[in-house]
C-alpha cells in the first residue's frame, strides 16, 4: 500500500491538570497513519516549533515532524490546505476536535471544503486502498460500523473508535527531527477578535425510568436515550421541513 498519508496533530491538554500533552485523538490519527503507511507517514503541525510537547508525537517512532511555523492566534486553515495540496496527500487524518485553542471541531470540515475533498467522520479502520478507491469502516454509536467506499484523496477524522495510540518513548522523541517550514502568516480574525468564556455544561435530558424488573432497567440503561416523539419527514419542501424543525426547537426550549 503506497499511499501518501498525512496526519495532522495539535497540542493537547490533560483533562484534569490542563497541562500540554499529546492530544488523544490526534495521537490516534498518527497511530492509524503509522499502521497504514509505516515509515512513510508524514505528520504535520501548524504552530510553534519550540513547543516541547511536539516531541511526544516523535516518540511514537516518527523520524520527522513537519511544522508550519505560526505564532499563536494565526489561522491554520490556509497554510494547511496549501501544504496538503502541494504535498500530494492522498489520505489526510486528523482528530475530531482539538483539546486547546478554539476546539470547535470545524477544521476538518473547512479543510475538506477548501480542498474540495470528501470528509469521513469517525474513521475506525481502513480496510483496503486499491486503484484510487479506499474501503473504510466508519464508527457509529454503540460499536456499529458502516463500510464506505471513498475515492482518493480524502480527509478523515478519527475519534475514540480508532486504534489506541502506541506509547511515546523518550529515545525516539529526542532523536526525531522537527522540520520547520516558513509560511505566510494570516491572523485568525474570528478567534482573536472574539472573547473566550468558560463553557457551561449542557443540561442533561431527564431520563425517567419506570422499569419494574431488572430486565427493564437493563434495557433502560442500554437503550438509546430518545425523546420518543421523533418522526421521519420525507418528500417535504424545504420550507415545510424548516418549519417542522423550528417547531421542535421551540418545543424543546432551544429557541424561545
Amino acid at each position: 500500500m503506497n499511499t501518501n498519508v498525512i496526519s495532522l496533530v495539535s497540542i493537547g491538554a490533560h483533562p484534569t491538570s490542563g497541562r500540554p500533552r499529546r492530544a488523544e485523538q490526534d495521537a490516534r490519527a498518527v497511530e492509524l497513519g503509522l499502521q497504514m503507511a509505516g515509515d512513510k507517514l508524514q505528520v504535520l503541525h501548524a504552530g510553534n516549533i519550540n513547543e516541547p510537547t511536539l516531541r511526544s508525537y516523535l516518540g511514537m517512532g516518527l523520524p520527522q515532524l513537519h511544522v508550519l511555523e505560526q505564532p499563536a492566534g494565526s489561522d491554520a486553515l490556509p497554510v494547511l490546505s496549501e501544504y496538503l495540496r502541494d504535498a500530494g496527500a492522498q489520505v489526510v487524518l486528523a482528530g475530531s476536535q482539538a483539546e486547546t485553542g478554539e476546539g470547535s471541531g470545524m477544521l476538518p470540515y473547512l479543510l475538506a471544503e477548501q480542498l474540495g475533498w470528501p470528509l469521513i467522520v469517525g474513521l475506525a479502520q481502513v480496510e483496503s486502498i486499491d486503484g484510487g478507491v479506499a474501503h473504510v469502516l466508519q464508527a457509529l454509536p454503540r460499536g456499529q460500523r458502516r463500510r464506505l467506499k471513498v475515492r482518493l484523496p480524502f480527509l478523515a477524522t478519527v475519534d475514540n473508535a480508532a486504534p489506541k495510540p502506541r506509547q511515546s518513548a523518550y529515545g525516539p522523541a529526542q532523536r526525531g527531527e522537527l522540520a520547520a517550514h516558513e509560511v505566510e502568516i494570516e491572523q485568525d480574525e474570528l478567534f482573536t477578535g472574539a472573547v473566550l468564556q468558560p463553557a457551561k455544561p449542557r443540561p442533561k435530558r431527564l431520563k425517567v425510568i419506570k422499569a419494574k424488573s431488572g430486565a427493564d432497567r437493563m434495557k433502560a440503561a442500554t437503550a438509546k436515550a430518545s425523546g420518543g416523539g421523533g418522526q421521519v419527514l420525507k418528500g417535504l419542501s424545504p420550507e415545510a421541513g424548516a418549519e417542522a424543525i423550528l417547531k421542535l426547537l421551540i418545543e424543546e426550549g432551544v429557541v424561545r
Binding site: 490533560h14 484534569t16 491538570s17 497541562r19 500533552r21 506509547q167 511515546s168 518513548a169 525516539p172 529526542q174
Partner: protein, 647 residues
C-alpha cells in the same frame, strides 16, 4: 612413571586454564566501561570473600561448613600439589600438608555429595551433579599420589594398574578444577566469583554497608544507550557478575513472582545473561525453567537484542523489584539492576511498557501522579485538618512528605492517623501541599528514567526553597527514593519512615500512649523499608510500645515476602498461577494473627485486595493513633491500660 606424568598433567591443565581465563576476560570486556578501583578491589577481595560473602552463605550452616572445608581444602591442595608434584619439591612436611588438605577437601566433597543425593528443586542439576564426584576424584587421587612423598608408602606401591587409575583420577580432577574453572564448568563460579567480588559495581555493599539505589542514566550523553538492549550494553563488571552465579537457586526460592507462577526465575535470568554474553542457547540450563516457558527455545549472543531472543519481555515485567533475590544471593549478584536496565530499553526506546504502564507514565508527566488525578486535589484529604504549608511557614522541623497515597481513599485514613500522631506529639511540621509531586519511584522502576529525573529534579528544586531538619513519610517507596536516589541529583536529605520517627517520639516520651486493644498482631515488613533500607526494628519497637507482641511470620525481616505491589508490578500485571498478595496473606494466616500491621500504602492496597475473610490490615500510624490517650487525662493512663489484658 607418575613422577613424569603428573607435572605434565598439572601444567597442561594450568596452561589451558590461563587460555580459558583470557578468553573469558575478553567476553566480559565486550561490556561497556565502568569505573572501578581495579587494584584496590583485588586487594579487598579476600576480605569481601571471607567476611561479606561468608555472612550470606552462613545463613545455611550446612553448606557454609561444607564450602569452607571444600574450598579451603581445594585451594591448599592445589597450591601444594603444584609445589610437590609440579615442581617436584618432595619434602615430607609438604607431603603431609598436602595429605591433610586433600583429606579436608574430601570431607567437604562428601557433604556436597550428600546434599546432592536428593537435591531440592532450586539447585541446578546437569554438570553440577558431577561436581561432588570430581571433587572426590581430585582429593582422593592427590591423597594417594602423595602417600609416597610423605614416606608412608613405597613409590611404586600398587603397581601399574593403580598408577594408571590414579593418573585418570588426576586427569579428571585437574580437568574439572583447573581447566573447567575458566572454560565454563561448574567451577567457573570460583574464578568469576572472586573477580566479581573484587570489581563489584556496588563496592559500598561490603563491610556491612548498603547500596540499593538504582544507578542513574546519563541522559545528556547522546552516545550512551538508553538502558540495555544487547548483552554488550551491560557494563563489563555486570557481565562478570552474571558469570559468577553458582546456580544455588536461593534467589529462585525467595522470588515471589516465581512462586506465583509468573514467568520469572531470577536464577534462569542470570544464566540467560551468561548465555547472552558467551553466545548460544539455553538448552543446557539444568535448573527450573521460567514458569510456563519451556527450556531450549531461546538463544542469543552479545550483539543480539535480549528481549524476544533470549528472554521474553513478560519475564522482565514480572519482577516486583523486592530485592529478595539480591538479599539471598551468596555471590551478591545484582538481579534488580539488570532487570531495570533492560526495562529502561523497553520503555525509553521501544515504548513497550505493558498494560497500564504507558497510561501511568503519561499521567505522571501530565499530572505528577500515576492516577491522573487533578493535581489541585492533592490536599483534599486534609481539607479539615488545617495543615501548615511549608510555602507559608518557610521552615519547619519536620517536612511531612505525603506521597501519592493522598489520592487514595484507603491511604488517606493512614495519613490522617499520622497527622493526629504528629499533632499529639506537638511536632513542628509542615507539608508541601500542592507543590509536592510523585517521587518518581514507579516511573523509575518501569524503566522511564527520563520521567523519573524530571520529577526528581523538580522536587529537589522545590525542596531547595525551604529549610527543614528532616523529611518524614508514610510511604517506604518515597522514603527510599528521597533518601537513596535523589543524592545523585544533588538532593541530600535526612529522610525517615514514619515508623522510625514514631519510635523516636515514643522514646522521647512525646506521645501519651495507651495499649493496643484486642486482637493478636503480626507485622509485614515492606521491601523498600526492610531490604532496601535495613529498617526492621523501629516498626517492631513502636508495636511493642503499644503492648503488642508481634506474632512473627516465618518469612519476616530480611526474608519478608513481597506483597506484590512493588516495581510497577500491579501496573504491568503479568498473569501467573496465583496472586502474590494471596500467598502473603497465607503467610499471615499461618501466624493466627487477627490483624496485620503494615507500613506501606502499596502493601495496604495489595493485602486489602485479598478477599475476605482475612485478617484486618492496619497501618502502624493507625494503630498508634488509635492508642493515643487524650491529653486531659494523662495521669489516669496507667489505670486505663488494664483492660488490654482481657482474653
Amino acid at each position: 612413571m607418575l613422577n613424569t606424568l603428573l607435572p605434565i598433567l598439572l601444567f597442561a591443565a594450568l596452561g589451558l586454564a590461563v587460555v580459558g581465563a583470557l578468553r573469558r576476560v575478553n567476553m566480559w570486556r565486550r561490556g561497556r566501561a565502568s569505573k572501578v578501583d581495579l587494584l584496590g578491589g583485588l586487594l579487598a577481595m579476600p576480605k569481601r570473600y571471607m567476611v561479606d560473602l561468608h555472612h550470606v552463605v552462613a545463613r545455611d550452616k550446612y553448606i557454609a561448613n561444607t564450602h569452607v572445608a571444600t574450598a579451603l581444602g581445594f585451594v591448599l591442595s592445589a597450591l601444594l600439589a603444584i609445589l610437590v608434584h609440579g615442581f617436584g619439591l618432595q619434602s615430607r612436611i609438604l607431603g603431609y600438608a598436602l595429605l591433610l588438605a586433600s583429606v579436608l577437601m574430601f570431607v567437604g566433597a562428601t557433604f556436597v555429595y550428600l546434599r546432592r543425593r536428593n537435591p531440592p528443586s532450586r539447585l541446578s542439576k546437569g554438570p553440577w551433579m558431577r561436581l561432588p564426584k570430581s571433587l572426590m576424584a581430585f582429593s582422593v587421587s592427590f591423597f594417594l599420589v602423595t602417600l609416597p612423598v610423605a614416606g608412608i608408602l613405597q613409590a611404586d606401591f600398587g603397581g601399574w594398574l593403580l598408577a594408571a587409575l590414579l593418573s585418570v583420577g588426576v586427569l579428571w580432577g585437574v580437568s574439572e578444577m583447573f581447566f573447567g574453572m575458566t572454560w565454563g564448568g561448574p567451577m567457573k563460579h570460583a574464578f568469576a566469583g572472586a573477580l566479581h567480588l573484587a570489581w563489584h559495581r556496588r563496592a559500598e555493599r561490603f563491610g556491612g554497608g548498603r547500596s540499593t539505589g538504582l544507578k542513574p542514566l546519563d541522559l545528556s550523553d547522546k552516545t550512551a544507550p538508553l538502558g540495555v538492549e544487547k548483552p554488550k550494553d551491560f557494563t563489563w563488571n555486570q557481565l562478570l557478575g552474571f558469570d559468577a552465579c553458582v546456580q544455588c537457586g536461593k534467589c529462585e526460592a525467595a522470588c515471589p513472582a516465581f512462586a506465583a507462577g509468573q514467568p520469572l526465575n531470577p536464577k534462569k535470568l542470570i544464566q540467560d545473561m551468561v548465555v547472552g554474553l558467551a553466545g548460544g542457547t539455553d538448552a543446557k540450563f539444568a535448573g527450573s525453567p521460567y514458569p510456563g516457558k519451556p527450556i531450549g527455545e531461546h538463544s542469543g549472543n552479545p550483539h543480539q537484542p535480549i528481549v524476544n531472543g533470549l528472554v521474553d519481555a513478560e519475564t522482565l515485567w514480572s519482577c516486583t523489584t523486592c530485592r529478595a533475590c539480591v538479599e539471598e544471593c551468596p555471590m551478591m549478584i545484582e538481579h534488580v539492576d539488570a532487570i531495570v536496565d533492560m526495562r529502561r530499553h523497553l520503555t525509553l526506546e521501544k515504548g513497550a511498557t505493558p498494560n497500564k504502564g504507558a497510561e501511568v507514565l503519561e499521567n505522571l508527566i501530565a499530572t505528577d501522579n500515576p492516577g491522573g488525578f487533578a493535581p489541585g486535589g492533592r490536599l483534599n484529604w486534609a481539607a479539615d485538618l488545617n495543615l501548615p504549608l511549608l510555602s507559608e511557614k518557610g521552615s519547619a522541623d519536620v517536612l511531612f512528605w505525603v506521597g501519592d497515597g493522598a489520592f487514595d481513599m484507603r491511604n488517606q485514613r493512614t495519613l490522617r492517623a499520622f497527622v493526629k500522631v504528629l499533632k499529639a506529639a506537638k511536632v513542628d511540621f509542615a507539608v508541601l501541599g500542592l507543590e509536592e509531586r510523585d517521587s518518581g519511584d514507579v516511573a523509575r522502576r518501569l524503566g522511564d528514567e527520563a520521567t523519573f529525573q524530571l520529577l526528581a529534579s523538580r522536587n529537589i528544586q522545590t525542596l531547595a526553597k525551604y529549610s527543614f531538619k528532616r523529611i518524614v513519610t508514610c510511604d517506604p517507596h518515597s522514603f527510599h527514593v528521597l533518601k537513596n536516589e535523589y543524592g545523585a541529583f544533588n538532593g541530600n536529605y535526612l529522610v525517615q519512615h514514619h515508623s522510625t520517627f514514631m519510635a523516636e517520639l515514643i522514646g522521647e516520651g512525646a506521645l501519651n500512649l495507651g495499649q493496643h486493644k484486642g486482637n493478636s498482631v503480626t507485622y509485614h515488613d515492606p521491601c523498600y523499608l526492610g531490604r532496601y533500607n535495613g529498617e526492621y526494628e523501629a516498626p517492631r519497637q513502636v508495636l511493642r510500645a503499644l503492648g503488642i507482641e508481634v506474632k512473627e511470620m516465618q518469612r519476616s525481616g530480611f526474608r519478608s515476602r513481597c506483597c506484590g505491589g512493588g516495581g510497577g508490578a500491579p501496573i504491568t500485571d503479568i498473569p501467573g498461577k496465583q496472586r502474590i498478595p494471596d500467598m502473603r496473606m497465607d503467610d499471615i494466616r499461618e501466624t493466627g494473627a487477627e490483624l496485620v500491621a503494615v507500613g506501606c500504602p502499596q502493601c495496604t492496597a495489595m493485602l486489602e485486595g485479598v478477599v475476605e475473610p482475612r485478617p484486618l490490615i492496619k497501618d502502624i500510624a493507625e494503630l498508634v493513633a488509635d492508642a493515643l490517650l487524650e491529653d486531659a487525662v494523662p495521669t489516669k493512663a496507667p489505670i486505663k491500660r488494664e483492660p488490654a489484658e482481657v482474653h
